[in-house]
């Protein structure tokens, strides 16, 4: 299991090693038949994965009358800009509000969660103190506790202190990432040499300062991974905001679109907003993935990871 956890950031290094060997190893060449069948399988499934998104994009460019009357997989009049304008001005721009909420919940939450997990994982890897193993085992148990199982008890607790239906009721529970601690510990153990910490000590740097100036840089690939996982987990979390929030202006975009979609039968005009809203809502995540992919590649070289 550990190897799996380790792999995302080392993928780069592993690929680098593989590339150095002769591209075509000696031995039998692959038959044309197996090449063609492999490409066919991949091509068919590319359609499976991408056609729904293509359909959503095309649907987002159509006016509501053309949505049902024209070819669903090809463009009619290109109304994308008008649709977006309608969406963001509908009901005083509540959709934009939802997007900003999602970015605040997921971006802010994942950032803080990553820093906290990095500090705790680093301490678990680099310092000896009583209760260290117990703490680590409890945190590992936390990895197996699904977020949905916590939503209802969290609601009950927050309602005891009258904090349901607030920004904090969704934001605060998102700051905890046991998986992040696990990953940070493995990385810190593997990538931050004790000699480096000793050297910093000899230079008179404090422990905390050493962590933030030296160790964090060496742990960056792992921390990017933790950030990404936590960002996705918060962005996709549905149960917690569903039970916590009543006030529409606090909704993340997933909950808002869900609410609109449940009302389509009563308010048919919402259908168009749901479609264009769904299309726009997946763009930030795709951008985050692409940016972080590049970050992995341009990030610290393989040498500093291992």
């Amino acid at each position: 299991m550990s190897r799996v956890m380790e792999t995302p950031p080392t993928e780069h290094s592993a690929a680098g090693i593989r590339r150095q060997r002769p591209v075509r190893a000696r031995g039998p060449r692959e038959s044309v038949l197996s090449r063609v069948s492999a490409m066919t399988v991949m091509a068919v499934f590319t359609l499976y994965f991408l056609v729904p998104i293509w359909w959503l994009f095309v649907a987002g460019t159509k006016s509501s009358s053309q949505f049902t009357s024209t070819n669903p997989l090809w463009f009619a009049d290109f109304n994308l800009i008008e649709n977006i304008t309608d969406l963001v001005t509908y009901r005083d721009g509540v959709y934009l509000r939802w997007m900003l909420n999602s970015i605040a919940y997921a971006g802010g939450g994942a950032l803080i969660a990553t820093i906290l997990a990095a500090m705790c994982g680093y301490a678990l890897a680099k310092y000896r103190f009583p209760g260290r193993e117990t703490l680590f085992n409890v945190v590992l148990g936390g990895v197996l506790v699904p977020a949905t199982a916590l939503a209802l008890p969290l609601f009950l607790i927050f309602s005891q202190i009258n904090l349901t239906n607030t920004f904090w009721s969704v934001f605060l529970p998102s700051l905890v990432s046991p998986f992040g601690v696990y990953l940070a510990r493995i990385y810190a153990a593997a990538s931050v040499p004790d000699e480096l910490i000793e050297a910093a000590r000899l230079d008179g740097a404090g422990e905390v300062r050493t962590f933030f100036t030296v160790s964090v840089r060496l742990m960056t690939p792992a921390l990017v991974t933790v950030f990404l996982f936590q960002f996705v987990a918060i962005w996709n979390n549905f149960f917690l905001p569903l039970v916590m929030l009543r006030d529409e202006t606090l909704f993340p975009v997933t909950l808002g679109l869900y609410a609109w979609n449940s009302q389509v039968n009563q308010i048919p005009e919402l259908r168009g907003y749901v479609l264009i809203g769904a299309l726009l809502s997946i763009i930030p995540l795709i951008i985050t993935f692409l940016l972080l992919q590049r970050f992995w590649r341009n990030g610290l070289g393989a040498g500093s990871v291992k």
């Binding site: 380790e6 039998p28 669903p72 890897a125 493995i186």
Partner: protein, 314 residues
């Protein structure tokens, strides 16, 4: 929490040899202030938002509401395992458990089988344009479950679907098929994610391991079966455990499908039962459902882990 015992040994022992220059034993803890600064912030939040809720859910599940007379004031009193008796007598809840288990028994093998196939193909010399396929297959993971369910809901609809030739003849939203319609949504979102986890662990296998096999004339299929798959079993186990947990916790997709199909009831999955019970509101029973569901999830993923480990030892 006993899985912790079992998971821990799989952690690489990178920390196992302690700094050799320092004597072990009851030596004074070095840098106590730094340790406190590093550990306490996470520790507090973890306690508040993981440990306390779990404890509170168990506590709530042991209470019953008592009223003096029919219209008397309600108060919570200790009821022992009363709520758990209600849970075990609750037919719809166990039907929903059976439903997600059926779902998992079919969907998880299909999803992981596809993910493994794609990862092996990406790792073989058979393909061109690997980077494109890797990205294309991963894109659905960027679509949140709620959004994916909304999108597929439209795609299944008899009138709005671009594939109306199919959907007007087969009603994917009918009581018979809606579970599998949801299974398709989950598969669509997660195949690429699992593919990447498996692919990453394939990349970590040193190439020398199958150079020899290739020289002996082994084909790609044989290399995959005899060398690669045994080496990446830990990765496959991991994806399987996360998939089992995800299946038992199904909520967003069926909740969205309720607006597309009346076949999805308010007790369709265990988590929907928890949600609808808490909206009554009957928090004590909902808490008991949550505890039973969390235990079931835990036992199942733990049993799976044990099962795969025993197979390794043979």
């Amino acid at each position: 929490m006993s899985a912790t015992v079992d998971l821990a040994p799989t952690v690489p022992r990178a920390d196992a040899p302690p700094r050799p220059t320092k004597p072990r034993g009851r030596a004074r803890v070095q840098h106590p202030l730094a340790i406190v600064i590093f550990v306490v912030p996470f520790g507090i939040l973890f306690s508040l938002f993981y440990l306390v809720p779990i404890g509170y859910a168990i506590y709530q599940s042991l209470l019953v509401i008592e009223r003096e007379g029919t219209f008397g004031e309600a108060r919570e009193v200790f009821g022992g395992l009363t709520q758990y008796v209600l849970v075990f007598q609750n037919g719809p809840f166990w039907e929903s458990i059976a439903r997600v288990l059926t779902f998992g028994a079919v969907q998880v093998p299909i999803m992981l089988g596809l993910a493994l196939l794609f990862a092996l193909l990406l790792d073989s010399p058979l393909l061109r344009g690997k980077r494109f396929f890797r990205l294309a297959f991963f894109v659905p993971y960027a679509v949140p479950g709620v959004i994916a369910a909304i999108m597929w809901g439209f795609l299944y609809s008899p009138s709005l679907s671009p594939f109306s030739a199919v959907t007007s003849n087969i009603n994917f939203l009918s009581a018979d098929l809606v579970l599998w319609a949801i299974a398709n949504v989950v598969t669509w979102v997660f195949v690429g994610y699992n593919m990447l986890i498996i692919y990453s662990s394939l990349l970590a296998i040193p190439a020398e391991l199958y150079e020899a096999a290739r020289l002996d004339g082994a084909g790609q299929l044989r290399i995959a079966w005899a060398i690669k798959i045994p080496l990446i079993l830990p990765a496959i186990t991991l994806t399987a455990i996360f998939s089992i947990i995800g299946t038992l916790q199904l909520l967003a997709e069926p909740q969205v499908f309720r607006s597309f199909s009346s076949a999805v009831t308010s007790t369709f999955t265990p988590n929907l039962t928890v949600y609808s019970t808490s909206s009554i509101p009957n928090f004590n029973l909902a808490a008991a459902f949550s505890v039973v569901l969390a235990l079931a999830t835990f036992i199942l993923s733990f049993a799976f882990l044990k099962f795969t480990q025993r197979k390794d030892e043979k």
